[in-house]
């Protein structure tokens, strides 16, 4: 692709003054709007239907999660992280547990690591399914959302069988796992992978070849690799721009180095590419789950860790590849029972920063498509 296409569209010329002189229209989209995925508020400046600029107003779901951490013990805080990206609660839990484990410098048994990988990957699929359904709904296809929820239900059933919770799972504990897997765990996971491989074909049949879908997504919301780096955008958005960056490969954690999988990338960095990258990621996640289930080692599920978690003074930063991008946890310990300071690097929040860049010059209908394609969860944006 030549640079000319990847370059951001030039800002539209300033509208000429007319008798009415009211060419620019400022509209307020959200926080109560059908497709701002929760409580995002976007102030749009329009010329007709062309977007001149977009400004995000966030904070409607702010709960002060990072401050709460300072008043809870390390174990007590673990369920709170599930409430940030509640669509991918397992990944949040994984990131937090790993950060504290790094502070404690404790070895995690292999079985625990493998189960963590399995659950995190199933959660990635569930998160992508929710994204696909709502994204298609934003673009006007009302059926995929129900199909996606049908499959997501199977993923949630696996979580429910494993730990009793469906959404905010709190599946992991610092040092390993709380529960041993149930008897049909392996079978359920493999059945889910087979189901997904089959159902992906159905989604592709509904959307990928559809002319309207392609027209609505190709060339929309382009963000090239350089811009992604400028804005700190990670995850599928970055990979769709052609950058082969996945923390599971770049800095393997929790035993990801043992599994054979590809990092799907695309070239143009538009909405269609992000769609294709995420669809392919589901296939790759299935591959990882299959390998992990087949090679699931026996052994303990919890590392050597005391009942009271009191890390030595120090700090730790751990970042993992969450479904939406790089999810980082920075924990500072002063040697007491509570974290001295905890900071989260949420992928949704950082990725949302590029909204204005992606929206400029497009139409109102594209804005909802772009919000959908960034794949944000407001619980994580606002924390």
């Amino acid at each position: 692709m030549p640079d000319t296409i990847l370059a951001p569209p030039p800002p539209p010329p300033a509208p000429e003054a007319t008798l009415l002189d009211s060419n620019e229209l400022v509209i307020n989209m959200g926080p109560q709007h059908p497709s701002t995925h929760g409580v995002l508020r976007v102030i749009l400046k329009l010329d007709g239907e062309t977007v001149l600029g977009a400004e995000c107003v966030i904070g409607y779901l702010h709960r002060g999660v990072e401050k709460i951490a300072e008043n809870r013990t390390y174990q007590q805080f673990a369920p709170y992280v599930d409430r940030m990206d509640y669509v991918a609660a397992v990944s949040n839990g994984l990131g937090y547990c790993m950060a504290v484990e790094k502070l404690l410098d404790v070895e995690i048994p292999e079985r625990a690591q493998a189960v963590r990988v399995i659950l995190a990957e199933i959660n990635r699929i569930a998160s992508h399914l929710l994204w696909l359904g709502t994204h298609a709904l934003d673009i006007g296809a009302i059926t995929p959302v129900f199909l996606c929820f049908r499959e997501r239900e199977e993923a949630l059933k696996i979580f429910e069988k494993y730990c009793g919770a469906r959404l905010t799972t709190h599946a992991f504990r610092i040092g390993g796992l709380q529960y041993e897997t149930h008897d049909t765990f392996e079978k359920d996971c493999l059945a889910f992978c087979d189901l997904m491989d089959e159902k992906l074909k159905e989604y592709h049949a509904l959307l990928t070849g559809n002319r309207i879908w392609v027209n609505r997504t190709k060339g929309i919301g382009i963000l090239n690799a350089a811009d992604c780096k400028d804005y700190g955008v990670t995850g599928p958005v970055l990979r769709a721009a052609g950058e082969k960056w996945d923390i599971r490969k770049a800095q393997p954690y929790s035993g990801y180095e043992k599994y054979d999988f590809d990092i799907p990338t695309a070239e143009n960095g538009d909405t269609f590419d992000r769609y294709m990258v995420r669809m392919e990621e589901v296939t790759q996640s299935c591959r990882i789950v299959r390998q992990a289930v087949e090679g699931l080692p026996a052994g303990p599920i919890k590392g050597k860790i005391g009942k009271v978690i009191k890390p030595p003074p120090g700090e730790a930063y751990v970042s993992i590849e969450a479904p939406k991008g790089e999810l980082g946890y920075y924990v500072v310990s002063d040697g007491s029972l509570n974290p001295y300071r905890l900071r989260v690097r949420p992928p949704s929040f950082v990725n949302l920063g590029a909204l204005d860049k992606m929206c400029r010059g497009s139409l109102v209908a594209d804005v909802v498509a772009i919000i959908g394609t960034i794949d944000i969860v407001l619980g994580e944006v606002d924390r």
């Binding site: 006007g140 129900f146 309207i212 109102v364 909802v368």
Partner: protein
């Protein structure tokens, strides 16, 4: 009394009253059908609570809409706001005046019937535009701007497709168009060596856009501009817009059926030996099957009232089946049966698209309209006129 009964104005008056009284109910059940079909496409059940299998849902919805507070936003242009849904509903319903529901049951057969319908549906667009404009809301305004652009653009291919159909029939009268298809022994859609399929398909596409149905539902694109032109409407006025939308769907399907699918004619109208199996056998079997399905459904109901209701429906269906079996009554109602059956198929198609396609974007919609549909409809007109000249000279 004698004088009244023999008055030439009596049948149209009765038909008019029947249409005005019954159409809101029909529209309500079209909504229910839409919800049920969509639910079927989307692995859901749809309404199941009000009445057996949700059969009374439309009544509950209508009651709710009538009882809701009628909010007029401050800063709205009150009179225009008040009038706009009325205008939409009035034009949509008045188009029924020339719709040939059957050979016996219609309000009027005027010699410019189809022009009247097109005129009325054009004025109907005004209701959307005014409603959005008078709401004093930016989302409504955007919705009505989209409605204006879309309806103006798509009226052109719709008009050309209609002209092709009229050309094929050689008359503007709705009954005359059906009569012409009877005389030629072929439905409009398959005339001129199947070349008439071009305007048929274009008519269905442009008709979908004209009635603001998905994938052309930009004026009320929920995920983009909240609810478009009727964002600020509530209660009964909202219900009127709903009614107008479904009336428009019915009318567009009705015109399509009349122009291209033989109106109230049965399939193969000139094949004599099909008379009994199609005109008597099919409706009887169909309604008997519906009755059986209702009885089967009744056995699954737990609530006694619902059970009785399902048996009642089964009884009604059986009664209809019996009516079609009576030789005296059959010719009176079989035309209506075929017309409504064909309209139902088209309405099902409208719902089917809605469950399948994503929405077009504003500029793409215009592209499709101006760059594809209009040239194609013009081409269809030319090709068909040549074919017709060759075939009929």
């Amino acid at each position: 009394m004698e004088e009244l009964l023999s008055s030439p104005y009596l049948p149209p008056l009765v038909a008019t009253l029947l249409i005005i009284a019954l159409f809101p109910l029909v529209a309500g059940y079209m909504v229910l059908a839409e919800r049920k079909v969509l639910a079927d496409l989307q692995v859901r059940l749809g309404p199941m609570r009000v009445g057996p299998y949700g059969a009374l849902q439309p009544l509950a919805d209508a009651l709710k809409l009538m009882l809701k507070e009628d909010i007029i936003p401050s800063g709205a242009d009150k009179w225009v706001f008040w009038m706009a849904p009325v205008l939409s509903t009035f034009t949509a319903l008045s188009a029924f005046a020339v719709l040939p529901l059957s050979d016996k049951f219609y309000v009027a057969d005027v010699n410019i019937g189809i022009l009247f319908i097109l005129a009325m549906s054009s004025i109907g667009a005004l209701g959307l535009i005014l409603g959005g404009w008078s709401s004093n809301s930016k989302y409504s305004l955007m919705g009505s701007l989209r409605a204006a652009a879309q309806m103006v653009s798509y009226e052109v291919p719709l008009g050309f497709a209609t002209v092709t159909g009229i050309m094929c029939a050689g008359t503007l009268s709705m009954q005359g168009i059906i009569q012409a298809q009877y005389e030629r022994g072929v439905w409009g859609a398959f005339d001129n060596y199947l070349l008439m399929l071009i305007p048929t398909v274009l008519f269905i596409i442009a008709g979908t856009a004209e009635t603001n149905r998905a994938p052309f539902d930009l004026p009320e694109a929920e995920s983009e501009i909240v609810a478009g032109f009727h964002t600020e409407y509530s209660g009964f006025r909202f219900a009127l817009y709903f009614l107008a939308e479904y009336a428009a769907i019915f009318v567009i399907s009705g015109i399509c059926v009349t122009l291209f699918f033989g109106g109230w004619l049965r399939p193969f109208p000139n094949v004599g030996f099909l008379e009994t199996p199609l005109n008597v056998g099919l409706p009887v079997v169909l309604f008997a099957a519906i009755a059986l399905a209702c009885i089967k459904g009744a056995t699954r109901q737990i609530i006694t009232g619902f059970k009785l209701g399902m048996f009642g429906l089964a009884g009604a269906a059986l009664l209809l089946a019996a009516l079609f079996a009576v030789p005296v009554i059959n010719p009176l109602i079989v035309g209506l049966f075929w017309f409504l059956a064909k309209v139902a198929v088209l309405v099902y198609m409208f719902i089917w698209y809605r469950g399948t396609f994503p929405r077009f974007r504003y500029d793409q919609l215009m592209d499709v309209g101006w760059k594809w549909l209009i040239p194609m409809s013009l081409g269809g007109l030319i090709v068909n006129s040549i074919a017709q000249m060759l075939a009929r000279s």
